[in-house]
């Protein structure tokens, strides 16, 4: 049990208490008022983005002037997932700019969004998932980026993220990419042959030879999404109750018949420690898993399967600057810093395991340099993969409820 799990569990219990603002706002019937201060763009005017329908988000306000001086007073507030940074890189940023960085963490996106939107957390830099970008912009929570201050974006990052810009934010008006990942099957190579893992694919979770030795993500979109693909449904945002129901039944089957356990640390802790043999895994988790191996265990025991035709789940996280950031200029420097080849690479290679979408990263070199073990070659993400892979995007509230109902049934023990 690592510190990371401890925080995850302890923090996961934090319950939201309505803020004073929410109480005052109760003078009007909640849910009927336009969001924000009334001047916001109605969210209905911005369509839900997905890879087939890229969206150009409206400009809310102006980017800061490129000539704005760097704020060196106070503390840069960074709001990110727990354990998603290499502390040494943060330290390097502090040293370079002579500032302090305070890192506030959240354990799941809902918690992160809730605290930011309610004003409980004021951040200079925020790391949302792509499905929240539209809503954050529509409620005036993000500020447009000043691209003159982000030279590393066009210089170092895959063109798709700057020109034309990603599907969720054409022209990269509000976001820069943080890291990219695929979702596949991690396994112990000391117990499973590569060929067997490749042949089984997603069915590894159901294979009786791994009974009681299977871990699966405790995260509804990833969990149900992978089973949709396994069942031959190629829309990872399916709103078909029958398809979602079948994915749910598949997860219940792996739990009830094959002793699968739901856990967010199934790969980097349970697989590393040998507690499980196969686990659902983000590519970054299996690449970073070597840091969790017991002493004396070779990293060759770690294996990762992702479909050869690259038709699997794929995605990326983003970095943004909230509209009310107290240090917007310094925040731009921070974004640019993480897109810097040296520091972005160090964050990935020496700690995080999650790969930044840099043009300079050559899969063969990653393996030659020992950043990624040869057996984990499939965990390296290439620009090409994004053309083949399935990306999950925002669901309508009605569709989301179908997913959540299925998930709650699994959580309740089926």
């Amino acid at each position: 049990m690592s510190r990371r799990d401890f925080l995850l569990r302890a923090g996961g219990t934090a319950i939201a208490v309505p803020s004073l603002a929410a109480i005052l706002a109760a003078c009007q019937k909640p849910g009927t008022a336009p969001p924000g201060d009334g001047s916001s763009t109605a969210v209905g005017e911005i369509p839900i983005a997905n890879p087939n329908n890229p969206v150009l988000l409206p400009m809310v306000g102006e980017p800061i002037a490129a000539s704005t001086p760097i704020e060196t007073d106070g503390v840069l507030q960074v709001y990110n997932w727990d354990a998603y940074f290499y502390k040494k890189v943060l330290k390097a940023f502090e040293d370079e700019y002579g500032v302090k960085v305070e890192w506030t963490t959240f354990n799941n996106m809902e918690e992160g969004i809730q605290k930011l939107v309610a004003g409980q957390v004021t951040a200079d830099v925020f790391f949302p998932t792509t499905d929240y970008i539209r809503r954050l912009v529509a409620t005036d929570k993000l500020q447009p980026l000043q691209h003159e201050l982000l030279p590393n974006l066009p210089a170092n990052v895959w063109p798709v993220f700057s020109d034309p810009g990603p599907w969720y934010d054409l022209e990269a008006r509000y976001t820069v990419p943080y890291v990219i990942y695929t979702t596949g099957v991690a396994y112990r190579r000391d117990r499973v042959e590569d060929a067997q893992a490749a042949e089984l694919g997603y069915d590894a979770f159901f294979d009786p030879s791994f009974k009681d030795s299977v871990a699966y993500y405790d995260s509804y979109r990833d969990a149900l999404g992978m089973m949709l693909l396994r069942n031959g449904v190629t829309d990872p945002d399916s709103t078909d109750p029958a398809a979602i129901g079948a994915a749910k039944d598949a997860i219940l089957e792996m739990i009830n018949d094959n002793g699968a356990r739901l856990a967010i640390n199934g790969t980097y802790v349970k697989l590393s420690e040998g507690e499980v043999t196969v686990s659902q895994s983000w590519s970054g988790d299996i690449v970073g898993a070597k840091y969790y191996l017991p002493k004396g265990t070779s990293e060759d025991v770690l294996g990762y399967w992702y479909p050869d035709d690259k038709k699997g789940l794929i995605g990326n996280d983003t970095i943004t600057i909230p509209a009310n950031a107290p240090h917007p200029r310094l925040a731009h420097e921070f974004l640019n810093f993480f897109l810097d080849e040296k520091w972005g690479y160090m964050n990935f290679a020496d700690w995080n395991g999650y790969q930044p979408p840099f043009t300079s990263i050559d899969p063969d070199r990653l393996i030659a340099d020992g950043v990624v073990a040869p057996a984990l070659a499939k965990a390296v993400v290439s620009e090409e993969d994004f053309k083949q892979g399935y990306i999950q995007s925002e669901l309508t509230p009605e569709a989301d409820q179908i997913w959540l109902d299925a998930w709650n049934e699994i959580q309740a023990g089926g």
């Binding site: 019937k29 969001p35 356990r261 089926g414």
Partner: protein
């Protein structure tokens, strides 16, 4: 001296303020969340504080999920089973320990009590983590069983017994302490009188000690079972989804978008559920008090 009429009641003010600030107001917020709505964008809970705007659709829908065939039926039944089993085990073990400590521990009484309280020096979460490593497939428990040629048991793979024992472990001190307090206060003369009147040691226990400790038994049962109903971390750490309890339903809903009203409804239903043993306790102690006077 003559005090004004408000003088003595005024002493309850601190308690009343405490109750209003830390119970009534938060409870009203829970009710307002349960009957409220969600933010149309982020689906975060939007409490509705005006009762005339309350909506009961989520509450009724949640309630229906507890019916036979509903998705919350199994966790509810499981919770009742686990809580009853764990409370019963707590009572049997706790009574024996308290009885020994009160009657036979002599000079070591203080030491035993300190040892009973000692686990509280370490957070419950930490102690459950310790159990987690003891119960691993290759942990010490299985090593020990191996001595007797018992095959390793997958204790953490969703075994009800593991969760029940986890609950017993976590809550048993709360059973022992009130029992000890009561047994320790029983007048020795009453026991001697029982023996003098010809009762065997067992009869003395059954007809003197047990009835005198009944209020403490009830208090102990209430104290251990009420928090068990809302306990989620024992199962989070020692069980799986197949041993999900009521508390886990709450815990899951906390991390999901748009589930505020459902979470509030689950809380209200749980409150109603734990009111049943609580009311029984209040009635039983009231009757006992009446008998004494």
């Amino acid at each position: 001296m003559d005090y004004p009429r408000w003088y003595w009641p005024a002493f309850t003010a601190t308690g009343l303020i405490w109750l209003v600030v830390f119970f009534v107001l938060p409870f009203y917020v829970v009710v307002s969340v349960a009957f409220g709505t969600v933010d149309p964008f982020f689906r975060t809970p939007l409490p509705v504080y005006q009762p005339w705007w309350w909506s009961f659709t989520t509450f009724t829908a949640t309630l229906q999920k507890f019916g036979a065939g509903g998705i919350y039926f199994d966790p509810l039944v499981r919770t009742l089973q686990y809580v009853v089993a764990a409370s019963a085990i707590c009572l049997v073990i706790g009574y024996a320990v308290a009885y020994y400590t009160a009657r036979f521990a002599g000079k070591r009484k203080g030491l035993i009590l300190v040892l009973l309280v000692a686990p509280f020096w370490i957070s419950y979460l930490m102690r459950i983590y310790a159990w987690q490593s003891l119960l691993q497939p290759d942990g010490y428990i299985n090593d020990f069983l191996g001595i007797f040629r018992i095959a390793p048991v997958e204790w953490l793979a969703g075994k009800p017994i593991t969760v029940i024992l986890g609950l017993v472990y976590g809550y048993i001190p709360f059973m022992i302490l009130p029992l000890f307090g009561s047994l320790d206060r029983i007048n020795q003369n009453l026991l001697e009188a029982g023996r003098d009147l010809g009762a065997s040691p067992f009869q003395t226990f059954r007809r003197v000690t047990l009835p005198l400790s009944k209020p403490a038994i009830l208090a102990g049962l209430v104290i251990v079972s009420l928090p068990m109903f809302g306990d989620y971390f024992t199962n989070n750490l020692l069980g799986t989804t197949t041993t999900s309890m009521y508390g886990n339903l709450l815990d899951n809903a906390v991390g999901q978008s748009g589930q505020g009203p459902e979470l509030g409804s689950l809380t209200l239903i749980l409150v109603a559920l734990v009111m049943i043993p609580m009311l029984y306790y209040l009635r039983a102690t009231k009757r006992a008090a009446e008998r004494r006077t």
